[in-house]
């Protein structure tokens, strides 16, 4: 069990590479101050643009995405769907719109025939909190949640017919939250009870994303047994990883509901949900608080995190940098002057020439033709490959057994 640089959250937070974060901030804010001083006002273009320099240097992202994956099916894995939906709910509440969330649920618990309360998925016992809500949008559902589709979403190598809601259209200034839950083991995560994704594949997928600059910073959270093994192999920059248990430990579920009959949530995600319920879009809670979210006394397993690939100090990373969507704004101080009386633009596009004869539907299925069709004479092809080999074998065996003198009876 390697402890090395992947500190359990109980000990002091590891400092990642401090690269050029602090000196760059100082240099650039000095340059920004100098730029502000230099701003001049022409008589026509009014004012310089107020630069909120300090906002830009906290994090360099302009939009947020979330990829939330639940990989297990069957009714008794209700808790994994509830985990994913509770993170989905927090992320939506903190501001990320559905168009920026890719939600993958491997099974349908809300409308499962065994659900005594249809259209609900609860996270707290006694049915206190329904995380399914009224406006959940599942992008990949049931059998569409496969390792291949997950990797296609991450790397962007998607067939062109995929709709926009199923794509991760992030750019180099996107912060992405990736949350995965299900059954896992040392170095793999099981998808749908039939296949698995290994930590090497996941690390390669992240590297492909980094090569194409599909993310600015990535927060990877995994809630499975031996979850820390999944982030061991990451080697791309700007990734923070959190896991619910170390290698060799199991993540445990929280509490069963006797009315529904299954365990409702996993411990790590349960306490993370309670932590996130306190966060609102303007709050200043940072990553260090998230690292402490489930101490061993509550979680039984030891959650771990990995920050050595991350350039900023986790102390300066706000929760809303990943879970929310707080956009940088600037006041618009300039306008351009338009002339109202200038002749309007007449559309120069050629108007479509209207069809002169009425249009009618083409025959969808030429039934008459099919019924009265004569069978097409098919070309004869000599037998190839397998048939030839089979006959050669049969003939060889026959002549071996009975001797060559029977040849004249055949031919």
């Amino acid at each position: 069990m390697r402890r090395g640089r992947f500190a359990p959250s109980g000990s002091a937070a590891e400092r990642g590479n401090m690269a050029a974060a602090a000196p760059a901030a100082r240099w650039a804010s000095a340059a920004a101050a100098a730029a502000l001083l230099l701003g001049c006002c022409g008589a026509v273009l009014a004012g310089g643009i107020q630069d909120q320099a300090e906002q830009f240097f906290k994090s360099g992202h302009t939009n947020n995405w979330a990829v939330l994956v639940c990989t297990s099916r069957f009714w008794f894995n209700y808790r994994h769907v509830a985990n994913t939906l509770s993170v989905y709910r927090s992320v939506k509440r903190l501001g990320i719109p559905d168009s920026h969330i890719v939600l993958m649920l491997a099974d349908d618990m809300a409308c499962n025939p065994r659900n005594p309360k249809p259209a609900t998925v609860f996270s707290h016992k006694n049915m206190e909190l329904n995380v399914y809500g009224d406006d959940v949008e599942v992008d990949y559902r049931s059998y569409e949640v496969t390792v291949e589709n997950f990797l296609r979403v991450l790397t962007g190598r998607i067939p062109p017919s995929t709709p926009r809601s199923k794509r991760l259209l992030s750019d180099d200034r996107s912060n992405i939250l990736i949350y995965m839950t299900g059954h896992g083991g040392n170095g793999f995560l099981k998808f749908q009870d039939s296949e698995e994704i290994t930590n090497v594949e996941l690390a390669d997928a992240f590297e492909q994303m980094w090569q194409k600059r599909r993310y600015n910073e990535l927060l990877f959270i995994i809630d499975t047994c031996q979850g820390a093994s999944m982030y061991e192999r990451f080697y791309s920059p700007n990734i923070i990883a959190l896991a619910s248990s170390q290698v060799g430990e199991d993540s445990l579920s929280h509490q069963p509901d006797l009315g529904i009959g299954v365990h409702l949530m996993d411990r790590y995600t349960f306490y993370m949900l309670e932590f996130l319920e306190e966060v609102h879009p303007a709050s200043q809670t940072n990553m260090n608080d998230l690292f402490q979210v489930c101490p061993k006394s509550l979680c039984v397993s030891t959650p771990g995190h990995r920050t050595d690939l991350f350039q900023r100090d986790p102390q300066n990373v706000l929760i809303t940098d990943f879970f929310g969507s707080v956009r940088k704004v600037e006041i618009t101080t300039e306008t351009i002057s338009l002339d109202r009386n200038l002749a309007g633009f007449e559309s120069e596009l050629p108007k479509d020439v209207l069809a002169t004869e009425p249009l009618k539907y083409a025959d969808q299925l030429p039934v008459a033709q099919i019924i009265h069709q004569k069978p097409k004479p098919k070309d004869w092809h000599p037998p190839g490959g397998f048939i030839l080999g089979l006959w050669a074998l049969i003939i060889m065996v026959f002549f071996k057994t009975y001797g060559i003198k029977h040849m004249k009876h055949i031919f």
Partner: protein, 488 residues
């Protein structure tokens, strides 16, 4: 490369010219941009080639005559110099007036050195500088070198979707009517036509009812109006964004421009900036997303007017702000101008010719850099997975991307901006198609160690008796050679 022709007005030829007119001079300047892959950073800044023409007669029609230099295939600038301030209609303290059609008036009577300096400054303003090159190459340049506007501007893309939305949270009190189609045809379409070289644009509009901002504004007693302070602005966008929607079919980035008509109970609503001063435009924008403007409805004089009030939105005022925000989002606007510069307003076209050139240049640079990194990482992927299958069309896309990128670099070096940009666009399309081809998923190709892991448990048990019997046969053969078997 940019060629600049300098027209001297009568009486303004500096005394210390090294040669007789006309003459040409070439100056090259290397812009140092340090970045991680030096192969990419051979960005060539403008070269100034001057040509002084004969004296041009001066008259009332002077300025219009200086306009519209026929671009032909290379970017060409005309600047005009005068030493006697009375001859030029420039206001005091302004030494350079930049027109919108690639021409400028420069006041420099004091000698060649000042002339050089002013022209240098002019070229810096209208052309690329180190910071804008670094911004264009932003993901390949180490973070320390980037300025604050490195990630403000939209990335170069083949198309953009622009959506105008009217938010009316209180339809019971305000019946808002906006002639968006007319405004788009009148004001927006000329700008988009000028930008059509850069990308394809599609424009939509929508009206959203009962869409509230995420923040409750405070009431300010002194001005008896409602105030939205600057630090609450980031939280305004989120609740609205979920309802904005976007076209399902296209993958282009979306620019949202929202016009918010505050509720009657929260009218009038003003935005305050960080120092507490009200913002003249009553608008704010978010980089790479779009802009929001708040349109206050005048409270009617008589309190008995029947609700809902009919409101006809003044689209000119609105479009002035939206188009200014569009310029900012694209990075067309120039923040810091040297103090003696005056730039002509672009008017209804939205942007000056030289601003368009700058945008094309920056986008072309960005495209070429993207192509080189994409193809490099594709090559790295192929090295990693040795048994990957490259389909023919992927291969042809790669060849096309390489050829187009080389074209683009050559054209940029000569200054043929439009063809360079087209070539760079083609290169980017081909390289993206090659890189994101669905068949290149690394999951589909087993690494060699996994293949061993699958086949060894199958074949090793089978192979053991075969190998042992082979070994026995060899031993017997060797023994037979040593002592021939006794024949009985």
């Amino acid at each position: 490369a940019v060629s600049v022709s300098v027209v001297f007005l009568p009486g303004s030829v500096p005394a210390d010219l090294p040669r007789r007119l006309p003459y040409g001079d070439v100056r090259e300047e290397r812009v140092p941009v340090s970045c991680k892959s030096p192969a990419v950073c051979t960005a060539r800044p403008p070269r100034g080639a001057w040509e002084a023409l004969r004296a041009v007669p001066y008259g009332d029609t002077f300025l219009p005559r200086l306009s519209r230099v026929a671009p032909g295939s290379s970017v060409c600038w005309q600047s005009c110099l005068c030493s006697q301030p009375s001859l030029l209609p420039l206001p005091q303290g302004v030494n350079v007036y930049v027109g919108k059609h690639r021409s400028a008036l420069v006041r420099a009577g004091q000698g060649l050195a000042i002339l050089h300096a002013r022209l240098q400054q002019l070229l810096q303003v209208v052309s690329l500088t180190a910071s804008s090159i670094a911004a264009a190459l932003s993901d390949r340049v180490p973070d320390g070198q980037l300025g604050p506007d490195a990630w403000r501007h939209l990335k170069s893309s083949l198309g953009y979707e622009i959506t105008f939305s009217l938010l009316n949270p209180d339809p019971k009190s305000h019946d808002v009517d906006w002639d968006i189609e007319g405004a788009v045809n009148h004001y927006v379409q000329p700008v988009l036509d000028k930008l059509s070289l850069v990308a394809n644009f599609s424009v939509d509009s929508q009206i959203l009812y009962y869409a509230v901002l995420g923040v409750t504004p405070r009431f300010d007693k002194e001005s008896s109006s409602f105030i939205l302070s600057a630090h609450s602005l980031p939280h305004v966008i989120n609740p609205v964004e979920a309802r904005l929607g976007s076209s399902a079919a296209s993958l282009y980035p979306v620019l949202n421009f929202l016009l918010y008509v505050p509720e009657r109970s929260h009218s009038p609503l003003y935005i305050q900036d960080k120092d507490g001063a009200p913002v003249a435009t009553n608008a704010f924008h978010s980089p790479r997303w779009g802009g929001i403007m708040i349109y206050n409805v005048e409270v009617p004089a008589s309190p008995q007017t029947s609700l809902p009030l009919h409101v006809d939105v003044d689209m000119l005022r609105v479009m002035e702000v939206f188009l200014a925000q569009l310029r900012l989002l694209f990075g067309i606007s120039r923040e810091e101008l040297p103090p003696e510069f005056l730039v002509e307003s672009p008017g209804n076209e939205g942007l000056a010719d030289w601003e368009l050139d700058r945008l094309l240049w920056a986008h072309a640079l960005e495209n070429i850099a993207t192509v080189s990194t994409t193809l490099t990482s594709l090559a790295q992927l192929l090295d990693q997975i040795s048994n990957i299958v490259i389909k023919d069309d992927v291969a042809s896309e790669v060849y096309r991307a390489v050829a187009a990128a080389q074209d683009a670099v050559a054209e940029l070096a000569e200054g043929h901006l439009h063809s360079a940009f087209q070539a760079s666009k083609e290169a980017v399309t081909s390289s993206e198609r090659a890189f994101f081809d669905p068949s290149l998923l690394h999951l589909l190709y087993f690494p060699d160690d996994q293949k061993f892991a699958i086949y060894i448990p199958l074949f090793l048990p089978m192979a053991v008796p075969i190998l042992l019997s082979l070994a026995k046969m060899l031993r017997e053969a060797r023994q037979n050679k040593k002592e021939p078997t006794k024949m009985d």
